[in-house]
């Protein structure tokens, strides 16, 4: 299954994104291998693809050449990041009703140990008489990251594109970064993560943060592997309410998948802010205040109970 997954992904990576993903998904691994040989005979089975110019084309399955699986970027590359980018996230508190689709998508995508969450959704209330609201928190990917400052072995690092990642092959598990992070964004693999053996046996990649390893720290990675492919982080695409918007500050654009905003306008018009600005950590995650809300706070309570019992 894993193999098939890989070839499916390669297929997308050829640059001709499959318009009819369903067909691609169903195709057997054998068919691809046959296609790799020279002088392949048309099988008669057509696959719809989206060409680079945006046209839908049909190609015989036998003529599709599988591209060798792109290895995850090297550790050195993962440490540098994507040049010219500065990733930011905007979390619109007026849209959140504690559905936690972000959380489950994230946990699934990163093969997290069950019970561990990189995204947390907390009920917040500034003072007794003020209105409560739901606040999802991720890693803030600070520009002055306290965790990176204190790491004794350079296991956690800040990239050119603003993302803070962890090299689990380097981490010694001292947990100084956890103490240093004021946002409590970091989680620790206290025991052997309860994940499939085939996942656990993969080589660790800092961009996918897979596999999580016993005795090392983990946290939200802004889905660095997805952003490298020009795709949105899993939490962003999983949220049906468009709470999360993600983008490149240099392009001044963020999107939640359906709507696209000019980042500076959004932050200005909706009075965006960052958490604990006074600490000087300079987060890359911005929040829009919970005004003119789409949902009452109470609508999230049920979900809070079921997931927190």
């Amino acid at each position: 299954m894993n193999q098939e997954n890989n070839s499916r992904r390669d297929f997308l990576l050829t640059g001709i994104a499959a318009a009819t993903l369903a067909v691609g998904c169903n195709s057997k691994k054998d068919a691809f291998e046959a296609g790799a040989e020279d002088g392949a005979v048309a099988s008669g089975k057509k696959i719809k693809l989206l060409s680079v110019d945006g046209e839908v084309i049909e190609v015989d399955e036998a003529f599709l050449k599988p591209v060798p699986h792109l290895p995850p970027v090297s550790n050195t590359e993962a440490r540098i990041g994507i040049p010219g980018k500065k990733f930011v996230m905007v979390i619109d508190l007026s849209r959140c009703k504690n559905l936690k689709h972000c959380q489950s998508a994230c946990n699934h995508a990163h093969d997290l140990n069950p019970g561990e969450n990189w995204i947390k959704v907390d009920p917040m209330q500034s003072a007794d008489h003020t209105a409560p609201y739901w606040e999802p928190t991720t890693c803030m990917h600070c520009d002055e990251p306290p965790c990176v400052k204190v790491c004794p072995v350079d296991a956690t690092f800040k990239r050119e594109d603003g993302i803070v990642l962890i090299d689990s092959d380097r981490c010694i598990g001292c947990r100084f970064c956890m103490a240093a992070c004021p946002y409590s964004a970091r989680v620790f693999n206290w025991g052997e993560p309860d994940i499939l053996a085939e996942v656990a046996n993969q080589l660790y990649s800092a961009e996918t943060s897979i596999p999580q390893k016993k005795g090392t720290v983990g946290k939200c990675d802004f889905c660095a592997d997805m952003t490298r492919e020009g795709m949105l982080p899993h939490c962003v695409s999983a949220c049906p309410n468009g709470v999360f918007a993600f983008g490149d500050m240099n392009e001044d654009t963020v999107t939640n998948g359906t709507e696209t905003f000019r980042f500076s306008d959004l932050i200005r018009d909706k009075a965006g802010y960052r958490l604990m600005e006074d600490l000087g950590t300079k987060p890359s995650v911005y929040y829009l205040p919970p005004v003119s809300r789409n949902f009452p706070f109470e609508s999230g309570l049920e979900n809070d109970k079921t997931q927190n019992s």
Partner: protein
């Protein structure tokens, strides 16, 4: 007669200028002989054997617990994402704190010309060495991936306070070892003359570490110089190890740790607990080895005064640490402070303040309180109070993060150490005491040569 000749050599050795007349010399030699036989390391009696047996058993249980931790990971502890540092780290801080006593009694007293402290120097140095060894071990125990310990040396980032700690603890360890070793050399020379009563292996050990020492004036001069240099260097290093250890906390933003007072607060606490440990050890060694003539009531009287001074100093820094935040009650700190003053942690907090500082001060302020037994009891209070104080420095802060502890399993929201953590912690404390016991079995707990020299000086 044979002994007299032996002692003649000793006297020559330590009085290179030959300032003592021959007639005087013989009388002194008999006195020296008495000192030597009083201070020679003694074999374990029945109580000693039981003591060693119990400590070894506790260590073995701790080792088994650590085996389980290595196998299953830190999951066997009660630490979770919020309380990510637990009693291992508080125990580490405790060990670092105690180890500072070596520099106080040996170096500060020596440089300040405090003569009465010299019979206590070896006790202090032995405690310092045992504590710094276990401080290093316990920090490895706390690591999630201890097999990568050497990464600290090959990938170390000098910007990280942990690396500062690694550097200064290593430095302090070596200075402490040398400060134990150099003053031992003349004593080893004396020990080597009792080949019959020392076991074969121990004799070989003594020869290995000290047979080059002949007690020549040149060697004495060099040793004196080396000890002086070590005494001067150990003071800044000692201040640094505990200041840097406090910075592991103070460089974070957390309520209760975000304090500019932390370095001085830790140092003062360290001197207090170290002095407390020394009076406890003094009392026990004095009883066990019948050293009443060498560790006198006067020593307890004076150490009692030192303890009062240090307890008041620590109390002062505690006031600084808690009174001003209490006055302001900042929102981010309010819950944490209330937890200490009147909440969950209040019993422990007031226990540490009262038993760790105020009650010992009250006992030791009175002349009657500075007799050996009350000083011993006050010392125990100080040490026990100090251990819990370190726990209070680490854990309550971690239970009060800035963002709510909400979207996590229930077990993440509180902390009580698991049996493995207790076993490892008690094992490390037992291990430190075992090292102290063994070193006291191998080496004279009171410096023999120094005692003889001082005896001569007073006779003159």
């Amino acid at each position: 007669m044979e002994n007299l000749i032996i002692n003649e050599k000793i006297t020559k050795g330590q009085l290179p200028k030959n300032s003592v007349s021959i007639a005087n010399h013989k009388i002194i030699s008999i006195a020296d002989e008495k000192i030597i036989s009083d201070l020679l390391p003694q074999k374990f009696g029945k109580a000693g054997k039981i003591w060693v047996g119990v400590l070894t058993a506790i260590c073995l249980v701790g080792l088994y617990a650590y085996y389980r931790q290595l196998r299953y990971g830190l999951i066997v502890t009660s630490m979770r994402d919020y309380v990510s540092w637990g009693i291992y780290i508080s125990n580490f801080v405790f060990f670092v704190a105690i180890s500072l006593v070596g520099s106080l009694i040996t170096a500060v007293f020596r440089l300040a010309g405090v003569k009465w402290g010299s019979p206590l120097t070896r006790i202090a140095e032995i405690i310092a060495v045992a504590a710094i060894i276990f401080a290093s071990l316990i920090i490895i125990v706390d690591m999630g991936s201890p097999e990568r310990f050497y990464y600290l040396f090959i990938y170390g980032r000098i910007q990280s306070p942990i690396i500062w700690d690694v550097i200064v603890i290593t430095t302090y360890f070596f200075i402490s070892i040398l400060l134990l070793y150099y003053p031992l050399l003349p004593d080893i020379q004396i020990l080597l003359r009792f080949k019959q009563s020392t076991g074969k292996r121990l004799y070989r050990f003594y020869s290995f570490i000290g047979s080059f020492w002949k007690g020549t004036p040149e060697q004495f001069r060099l040793s004196e110089k080396a000890i002086n240099i070590l005494c001067i260097t150990i003071i800044p290093v000692a201040f640094t190890i505990h200041t840097v250890t406090s910075w592991l906390f103070a460089t974070t933003y957390r309520p209760g740790w975000d304090s500019t007072n932390f370095g001085a607060y830790f140092i003062s606490g360290a001197f207090l607990v170290g002095a407390g440990a020394v009076v406890v050890a003094m009392y026990i060694f004095r009883k066990a080895q019948h050293l009443e003539k060498y560790i006198t009531e006067d020593h307890f009287e004076k150490m009692g005064r030192v303890l009062v001074l240090l307890a008041l100093l620590y109390l002062y820094f505690n006031m600084n640490e808690f009174l001003t935040p209490f006055f302001k009650m900042k929102e981010s700190e309010a819950e944490y402070l209330n937890g200490l003053f009147s909440g969950n942690f209040a019993p422990l907090f007031w226990f540490a303040i009262l038993i760790g500082m105020i009650v010992p001060t009250l006992i030791l302020l009175f002349k009657k309180g500075r007799k050996p037994l009350p000083v011993f009891i006050a010392g125990i209070m100080v040490v026990v109070g100090a251990w819990f104080k370190r726990y209070l420095i680490v854990t309550p802060t971690l239970l009060h993060p800035f963002l709510p502890m909400h979207d996590v399993p229930e077990s993440y929201r509180h902390y009580f150490p698991s049996w493995e953590e207790w076993a490892i912690t008690l094992g490390s404390l037992a291990g430190a005491m075992l090292i102290i016991t063994i070193l006291a079995r191998i080496f004279p707990i009171i410096p023999i040569q120094e005692t003889i020299t001082e005896q001569h000086e007073t006779t003159k």
